[in-house]
Amino acid sequence: MDMDTALLLSILAATVQSGTPILYATLGEMFTERSGVLNLGVEGMMIVGAFTAFLATHLTGNPWAGVLAAGLCGGGLSLLHGVVCLVFQGNQVVSGLALTILGLGLADFLGTPYVGITTTGFQAFAVPVLADIPVLGTIFFRHDALVYLSYLLPPLFWLFMARTRAGLALRAAGEHPAAASAAGLSPVRIRWCGIFTGGFLAGLGGAYLSLAYTHLWTNNMTSGRGWIAVALVIFAFWRPGRAVFGAYLFGGVMALQLRLQAMGANLPSSLMLMLPYALTVLVLLASSARGGGRAAPAALGVNIEPEE
């Protein structure tokens, strides 16, 4: 293998790693939105997940405890959104923003004493047999457990939505809650599940950042990935397959940006850091121009009025 191929393969492998946290968060938000709730708090839930994953691993020494803690705390924070929007009929846009402000504050506040401390976290291991496939093996099967777990999510997501009664119920709550209610379902209860699952997955995305992508805690380590995830849900037309594509697209840009910086490219770092955000605008523009917004669940962002 010559130098250029090796470099290309290493960038593609890094693409998968950078894309994984975004993939978790995107699928999570997509799940929530399919139940009809817009939760703009992804960035907040993600960073709380990143911190609690770090803390639980730091305390127990077991990164899986960290992953569980991240999911539960991300999900727990998302329940606040549930309280505001499902119980008290608050505005979903503003509540999600508040959740992001709160989550960023919480993680920063509780995490201040731990900034810069390293932890064990996950290590990469080659999957037997699969890792020996030329090219694909190097790109996809020499990572850590959280990456492999993320491979299972999009097919599971699709199966759940398309092939199970529970998935149908979830979609009904997002498309037409009144009809779901008439069919004997409880759309409010379904939306609680949608919100919690989304928060759980956003938490896992955060956990990836502090346990696998890096092995330490720093303030603000999500740096907008949660917002990119919100944009990717629209880009993906609310479908898991396109979410994978979108997440790896961003992973690729972030991997390339790091590589260029490491090679000492003669570009100011502030311009390089702009790349993912500028790409978000472009990608969203492309999908909006194709009428992407029309694929949204019909009752997305609309609260269910309490019965008298």
Partner: protein
């Protein structure tokens, strides 16, 4: 049988916004103080510091008033666009571009006398901030692009653009490598109104008053202003009534950008006297909290801007006196906004324990 039941109110709760805000403040302070206790800080002492730092005494009030100037200006624009159901959360980036625009004016025309410098500075700030907001507006109107995400991404890009300039082309050669422009000439510095009686309170306050009056007249006395307030209630009806809906959206977004640009200009010129990245402290996000607390009513914005500015100043004192991390402010603001959102439910509904009649 004794499960509480939700009943719709015939009329909105009397003094609702006051009670709801008071309750939300109590809840938020309670939760935040519990967190302080977790962190091993004395919660009651922290409350005392928070109060005396932000509101106890002339020096504290002066600080609070100074901080409420940029929050007020950003919040006016946010409130007007939220009223139109345009979810412009880009005040932070528009603030950054305003600061950049004002600084460009100063660097391009350093020799201008003050009477010319001030209008040029404010004009450049308003144009830069306004254009930064107009782009997402056009993208929304032309391509149906979600403005929440575009304005947020423009925040990141705008702040990085500011950094790009002060780390690069605009860096003061004499700053020993610190990312900042040279200090502004005297003609470009917004000075105090009356140092003897009002201390450090600068002419930015007068700008706020002027803007507030102009905006009030515009909203109450002009046809376009009326359409703007009415159009937000029901965009479809507004279109049906042949209101220029697209023009209104473009107008409110640009207005918000221009006002946030003013705020950026004032912070740069009056507070730090030069452009440096430290002016970006999240006023644009606090402005969203203020806008929602004031229920998008322009008249209440001044009060809530002052209150939240006071909390920010109080948190700075917590940092100094008790070594509480600055992020405590985010927790407070997030909690207040969440609990007010939940509390506004009681404006429209009440609980009853009585069975169905």
């Amino acid at each position: 049988m004794f499960l509480p039941r939700v009943v719709k109110r015939q009329e909105p709760l009397q003094w609702g916004s006051f009670f709801i805000f008071a309750a939300a403040l109590v809840v938020s302070l309670g939760v935040s103080c519990a967190l302080l206790a977790v962190h091993g800080k004395p919660p009651l002492k922290a409350l005392a510091v928070l109060w005396s730092g932000g509101f106890g005494g002339p020096f504290a009030l002066e600080d609070t008033l100074l901080k409420s100037i940029p929050i007020f200006l950003c919040s006016l624009g946010v409130a007007v666009s939220f009223r139109m159901q345009v979810w412009n959360i880009g005040a932070e980036g528009q603030f950054a571009l305003g600061a950049v625009g004002a600084t460009w004016a100063v660097l391009a025309f350093p020799g201008l006398p003050m009477w010319a410098m001030m209008p040029v500075m404010f004009l450049c700030a308003a144009v830069a901030g306004g254009l930064w907001a107009a782009v997402p507006a056009v993208l929304r109107l032309r391509f149906g692009m979600n403005e929440i995400i575009s304005t947020l991404m423009f925040n990141y890009i705008g702040i990085l653009f500011l950094q790009f300039l002060v780390y690069g082309a605009w860096k003061d050669p004499a700053s020993f490598g610190f990312p900042m422009t040279p200090i502004f000439p005297k003609a470009a510095i917004i000075g105090p109104i009356s140092p003897a009686t009002l201390g450090r309170v600068h002419w930015g306050l007068a700008v706020c008053a002027g803007v507030a009056v102009l905006l009030a007249v515009f909203l109450k006395r002009t046809r376009l202003g009326f359409e703007l307030l009415a159009g937000g209630e029901n965009p479809r009806a507004a279109r049906y009534a042949r209101m220029p809906y697209n023009l209104l959206v473009l107008l409110v977004m640009s207005l918000c950008g221009a006002l946030a640009g003013f705020a950026g200009c004032i912070e740069t010129s009056a507070t730090v006297n030069r452009l440096q990245p430290s002016i970006m402290v999240g006023y644009g996000y606090t402005a969203i909290v203020v806008a929602w607390l004031s229920r998008l009513r322009v008249s209440s914005i001044a009060c809530f801007a002052f209150l939240l500015a006071g909390l920010r100043v109080g948190v700075e004192h917590l940092q100094l006196d008790l070594q509480v991390p600055a992020a405590f402010g985010g927790i407070l603001e997030g909690m207040i906004l969440l609990s007010v959102l939940a509390g506004q439910f009681f404006d429209r509904y009440r609980f009853t324990l009585k069975g169905r009649s």
